[in-house]
Symmetry: C3
Subunit: 145 residues, 3 copies
């Protein structure tokens, strides 16, 4: 049994546009030389999420549209006129924090025969909910034998 | 420390009806002979989710009703007349992908004394969001000693 | 490679108010003497969630406000007059179960150099969705070397 620590560096466009990180993850697993176990990916930051989807433009746009309507940049009024987070920091990304907390900052996928064992059309995606482009470093931990 | 890989095969009815897989998970852990550690369960497919709930008919129906209203089979509003995923594949399960991405395709539970350490009324459930019955194979990884 | 099992005991106020458990988690990791790996935290109960956020009063209040509006204590009518869970047990926490299932009962964070590797303003939070104050025991499993 061994543990392999790694990172995935990506530049994002923000505003909840999903980025496919499956090949970068496969590369981390290859470097670990672990054949059977798990791979954990984590966003060290409170405005990013990890999940899976079928990575085709329709699904990516549906997810962004869903978030824009259900966790909008401006909260639905009248009683909740502005995100309280904005009052704290005079910031503009209260919805980014909400989206990240709801979807979650981490995901774990199974490793079998040295590769991430995903569905045929399933991809691991990082979603940057922040309101601007950012350079992100995702933390990867592969555990197994 | 050892790693044990296993699978849970189930036939689902789809449409976000939760299936209790707690006893199948307990069996995987028993086979692993691991007494302390974690058990990870993953759906290799982008229209299924794993989470926990109190598995009684009311909670199961509340979750399905909530999803039918908040991530409906037909998207709300004039501007978003059809899920974009449907335009890509002439498919009918755009909402299934959204539900799966929001809840997430994996869960990890603690293993103590050789059993999954859940709450008294807490069960591990697989939710198939697809629009038809499917045969699913969930991937289980138990790590510990 | 070793596995360390631990617990975090907290008293909560319920009603989806987030509690920052980052320092308690750091203490569990310190006790494990593991420098590189992962730490998994789980709520053994079906009305609690784990996620991360920037733990400042604005974000905490935004999350509670979002849940109160989108997964309210009384479901939106007219067809869904009462949560079905309430019919089963004459209980009042159907929304608590829904919130817990949607956010999820567990989280895993990376361990690097003997500490949880979070973002600068990112904290691990436990959210008790139940309708009353509770004493909770969260299960922590640290795996690595």
């Amino acid at each position: 049994m061994t543990v392999h620590t790694d990172t995935i560096s990506i530049k994002t466009r923000g505003n909840s546009e999903a980025v496919n990180i499956s090949s970068e993850l496969a590369e981390c697993i290859r470097r670990s030389e672990i054949t059977d176990g798990i791979a954990h990916i984590f966003c060290a930051g409170s405005t990013g999420s990890l999940t899976t989807t079928e990575f085709e433009p329709g699904c990516v746009r549906d997810l962004k549209e869903f978030l824009d309507r259900n966790i909008p940049p401006t909260p639905p009024g009248p009683a909740w006129g502005e995100y309280f987070h904005h009052e704290t920091w005079h910031d503009d990304n209260g919805h980014s924090h909400l989206r990240a907390s709801m979807i979650g900052p981490d995901i774990t996928v199974p490793v079998r025969n040295g590769v991430p064992r995903l569905g045929t059309w399933q991809q691991v995606v990082f979603i940057d909910h922040d309101t601007r482009s950012r350079n992100r470093e995702l933390l990867v931990t592969v555990i197994g034998e």
